[in-house]
Subunit: 242 residues, 2 copies
DNA sequence: CAAATAGTGTCTATTAGACAATATGTT
DNA sequence: AACATATTGTCTAATAGACACTATTTG
């Protein structure tokens, strides 16, 4: 950072949230329907401008999360995804948006936000496939968010953020399958995931569902870095990184 | 992004660069010595404010890179590292900095930048160890940059960005060892890295050094994603992610 | 019992890591 | 020859993936 003789330009800072969750075994992202121009009627990510010039970026993300979903960010996984500042991305003027990725466990259906006129958990697939019309560069944010989640599932304990405080190995497998979009062998998954040191801690309790043998309940262990990583099958492809 | 009845606060945007390279088998970061307050005399990352309100962030990063090092960003690996916007990080006022990570191949010793009064490639170790006094939150940026590089070495072709257009497997090994800070077995490394599909392409040429058998020269292949990944030994540890 | 999910055993091909051995250059 | 680096071979323990099998529940 260098001092300059001229006055540097000031820009508006926005915070946008890619909030992912699992519903009906499919990966969903929280989208609101815009009620005003620009992009009236299009889907958009929840977010907003910095409240005041001294607000911390993370604090702004937590504030928006609470406003839009009523969720306390203390309970959620929340991490910075990146900055999106291409000139022209917002027709109203120069806006630099700091994107955050949040992972939410299964939530009560109604997501009536205070700000959001109309909010819904829409399948991430439909965004990736381009079926939905997203405002601004928000499709890119969702792409990047899903890609981040896919990668971190391999090497971190992120998957548990999709679950409640306790969960079965079957539920965890559903998370991996939904985010990666591929089926996994339950038997191999079962042992592989338990082999990871410090990932899962058995609670001793069991959970019984409508059918089948009751499953042991686990909670997240101390490790946030998974070693060995949970390999994603068929990564064998070239090109495209970052 | 929601429309608001009030005027959102505008802040200054800076771009800071964590430029890594290899010198004398050690990982170095480009630091300049600040000639003005605040933090006069401390080391700082190269960077600066947005030139004008319509400048793209990536363009600003490339511009700063050229100004500080004379390097053409077209030749270099350049990726966004994150945003650093904690209030109070800059005593002059609210500044949100977009950090970029650049990887440079071996460069000519003099790094006389136009802006930088005094620039030097200093060992990343000394920053990590806290030996050097860095301005602002730049120590954190270097930490994050090195950590990013360490991780990407495993799963991407980033290592080749430290090398010239052609390189030997021995040089590549030096990159891995310097960035990870651990020794690797040359024989196992030799084959392991060649097994990665699309990573290395032999040029047919050879390179002879002062001593020892000449080594085959390679260039970077089409793959930017490495599968299987190049596993980093002794990752076996708990806690701390993100 | 049938169906469904949880959990265990086992086999095989592949891989990681250790390290001996060989190849080819310089001094 | 002595030395240094590159490249190849080989052995062993660990691992991934396929899949048969057992266990425990509900209807």
């Amino acid at each position: 950072m260098i001092d300059v003789p001229w006055e540097p330009p000031a820009v508006l800072i926005a915070v946008d949230l890619v909030i992912l969750t699992l519903r009906a075994a499919s990966l969903r992202v929280l989208l609101i329907e815009r009620g005003t121009e620009p992009y009236r009627g299009a889907h958009a990510l929840p977010g907003g401008f910095l409240a005041h010039s001294e607000e911390d970026l993370d604090a702004a993300a937590r504030r928006e999360l609470a406003e839009e979903t009523g969720l306390d960010a203390g309970e959620l996984h929340l991490e910075q995804l990146g900055v999106y500042g291409r000139p022209g991305r917002d027709p109203r003027g120069r806006v630099v948006s700091v994107a955050y990725l949040a992972i939410a466990p299964r939530l009560p259906d109604p997501v009536a936000g205070t700000d959001a006129a109309d909010a819904a958990w829409l399948p991430a697939d439909r965004v990736l496939a381009g079926e939905l019309n997203l405002a601004f560069d928000h499709r890119q944010l969702v792409l990047d968010g899903v890609e981040r989640a896919r990668g971190k599932l391999e090497v971190s304990s992120l998957a548990t953020a999709f679950c409640g405080p306790t969960f079965t190995i079957g539920e965890l497998q559903t998370v991996y399958e939904a985010v990666w979009g591929i089926p996994l062998d339950p038997r191999n998954f079962y042992r592989k995931i338990q082999r990871v040191d410090g990932f899962l801690v058995p609670t001793g309790a069991e959970q019984r569902s409508l059918v089948g043998r009751p499953a042991r309940l686990f909670k997240a262990g101390p490790s946030t870095v998974l070693s060995p990583p949970i390999g994603r099958p068929n990564e064998a492809g070239s090109s495209s990184a970052d």
